[in-house]
Symmetry: C2
Subunit: 443 residues, 2 copies
């Protein structure tokens, strides 16, 4: 896409391209994805060289403390990351194709048949942080789901993203994809000017800081997919297996503390607190986790090194090696706390009591409710979606890690033969049959 | 629900009740619905008496012209309407129960299983016009889907709605439903104060004038389900059967002109315009429809009585016996016009050419794409949903007429046995199996 187009032009051109790619066959989408994977593999050195430019520019920011080492780590695209990235794209290519899938076929009356058929959403506006590997991951889901997109990546990843984008677009254009199907945006100003284009842009997916997501949610009437906060909980029930609980709490906090699915608050049943809590605090402190707990419990259980909590802790996503702990009297209090402070992302219970899990899963109002497993599993790859465009905490579809399924909507097709509503109203009207049929391509 | 509660209190109490009813069994929901249907039947006279009070209060407004006769018609609840209303509730009771249904069961690894399970959305805020029959229809869908709700009806239907609501609530409370599960709101001020309660109110469904819907969409960050405009199209293709086309266009315009699924614009292929258009105009004019068409075509085809169109016509929902007609050169121009001016509600093609329908259905970006059938079929009852809470033109789920399915969301349940993410990362990590399983209640 050439620089002379305004962002509005890019959006209209992407809209028109979305209609075209929405009609492609499953085979064509799969071929395109395999070709993109091959092209990325053949151009590994080009990508790594481009990434080296970004990394050398970032080093000054890293040394001055402007950039954290985890930001630098996300910016880096080495051969290992590239290999797993390319494997991921091949995995997406092999997933079942859902575009055009029928989920309902109902005879309303003789000769009048209603189908519910999935179709691409249209044009997606995606804003993501300086993580070059996110670009091919997201684009592979967009290709598989038949959508068009405008994409803005973090400026620190500029060279890597431009190199990746050129390789992908050259491959797609070679296979007769319209060049306007994907466009790179250059600036935040371009993004802002697109926020008012409801009806052209169908969906916005912001990935990045809570502040970015919230600002976008507040500045547009276009549906926004994603989540601002990730305040995840683990409730250690009175019937918990302590070894499982220690293993899971440690993994959920320490395995990747800045991820949105890391645990922030651990709730512990009062009955087991005297035995369990000192062990938990010790294990976490050995992993350099700062533990916060209410002052009474710290004194009572002699939790050396633990800091007292404040009200603010319960709604904070630390993104760091910090955890808050609260003692609860019963399961109800745990689910009440979670429904009050959780960001409805992912919450887990550790218990050997199936009834307790059932109650927990029924009451906790989150996209993921886990039993004896780490909250860190909330991820599109781990769910078997190949990749994800983000994690949604919305209650309208989609919810949780969003893969291909979440990038599709549906239309109802009604096939008649001159049928009119007048025949079905008033005295001596015809009746509907409303007979569900086997789902097959219509007519 | 007692008058002394603030709307915020009502919302929190409904939230708490929603957790309770979300756990009820399918059998209990069905029993409650059948009991509601019986109670309405036994109290027919009470309802009709209450409605008579609303009607007599409305007569002055009708005579002064403040109320249209169609508004008066919607306000009226006679024995026929009641009978079909009660039959509708029994139909909803007998529909398959979808709460808790699993749509995915996937082994991620040995002992680690992921389920995708549907669950109620939570608390729905519903605002509807002065149509008393809408209350039991909507409440029956809410009962079947396990949701709680706060409901505001038009003030002209006050007595009818209060009588219906009392009968329904007495029945539900008799069957141990929490009294806070449904609440009536008394004023627009109450509604406005709820608009900021995201996280407590999960969904807003406004039914009524375009202006009302748009004002609500602009005043809240809570997801809004519904549609402002209903600008529906019929495209009469060059390969149309004229008799079907005349029948369908007449039904779609005249059968109920103020409905959102009535046709507003008819597009006609130039090749058939000289033969078809004069016949169409004549048939519509005989039904007292005001026909608008571009000035050149009026002159060329001598369409006596037709008025010239302006640009404004293409985006106007007339809600009246008025139709705009445009001649197009080809199918592309028709789909282009529709995607520009349609409200993405329901659009139809009349043709004997299957390829033309396929192209139309692929390109038109609307919730309903119809082939040789009237746009007036876009309705929850006609689709076999029993009833509808509204029609959604959103591209995120749900779309089209919204019945029970659209009042459910889902959560992912992950069942492990101490599984942690750390085991699946780094060198010599475990692999996911990602094996889809038969769907059955877990464990």
């Amino acid at each position: 896409m050439k620089a002379e187009f305004s962002p509005q032009d890019k959006a209209y051109r992407a809209k028109s391209a979305s209609t075209e790619v929405g009609r492609y066959s499953a085979e064509r989408r799969k071929d395109a994805l395999l070709a993109v994977a091959d092209a990325l593999q053949q151009n590994e050195q080009v990508i790594i060289d481009a990434n080296a430019k970004d990394l050398s520019a970032a080093e000054a920011a890293l040394n001055s403390g402007e950039m954290t080492s985890s930001m630098y780590g996300r910016l880096k695209l080495d051969r290992d990351k590239l290999t797993s990235l390319i494997a991921g794209i091949r995995q997406v290519a092999e997933l079942p194709d859902l575009v055009g899938a029928m989920s309902m076929a109902r005879e309303l009356d003789e000769g009048l048949v209603l189908y519910k058929q999935s179709c691409p959403i249209g044009v997606v506006l995606i804003i993501f942080e300086s993580r070059p590997d996110a670009l091919p991951q997201i684009v592979s889901l967009l290709i598989k789901s038949g959508n068009a997109a405008l994409i803005k990546s973090g400026k620190e990843a500029r060279h890597s993203v431009q190199a990746l984008f050129k390789i992908i677009m050259d491959t797609l254009i070679d296979r007769d994809y319209p060049p306007e199907v994907f466009g790179l945006l250059e600036s935040r100003e371009e993004v802002n000017s697109l926020m008012k284009m409801e009806g052209v842009i169908d969906l916005v997916i912001p990935r990045g800081s809570n502040q970015l997501v919230r600002q976008i949610q507040e500045s547009t009437r276009i549906p926004v997919l994603g989540h601002a906060d990730g305040v995840c909980h683990i409730y250690v029930d009175e019937h918990a297996d302590f070894e499982k609980a220690l293993r899971i709490c440690t993994d959920a906090k320490c395995q990747y503390p800045s991820a949105c699915n890391a645990v922030e608050t651990i709730l512990v049943h009062r009955k087991i607190a005297p035995q369990f809590l000192p062990r938990l605090v010790k294990v976490l402190q050995e992993k350099k986790v700062e533990v916060r707990c209410d002052a009474d419990t710290i004194a009572e259980l002699n939790l050396t090194g633990a800091k007292p909590t404040t009200q603010l802790d319960w709604s904070t996503e630390y993104c760091d090696l910090i955890v808050s702990i609260r003692v609860v009297e019963q399961l109800n209090e745990a689910t009440g706390h979670i429904n009050t402070y959780s960001s409805r992302h992912t919450d887990a219970i550790i218990t050997e009591d199936k009834e307790a899990f059932e109650k927990f899963a029924g009451e906790v109002d989150s996209a993921g409710v886990y039993w004896n497993a780490s909250t860190r599993f909330a991820d599109g790859f781990r769910y078997g979606f190949g990749a994800e465009v983000g994690i949604s905490t919305s209650k309208l579809h989609p919810r949780g890690p969003v893969g291909i399924d979440g990038l599709l909507t549906y239309k109802y097709r009604l096939i008649g033969n001159g049928h009119i509503v007048g025949d079905y109203t008033g005295p001596s009207s015809k009746s509907f049959t409303h007979r569900d049929m086997d789902i097959k391509p219509f007519h």
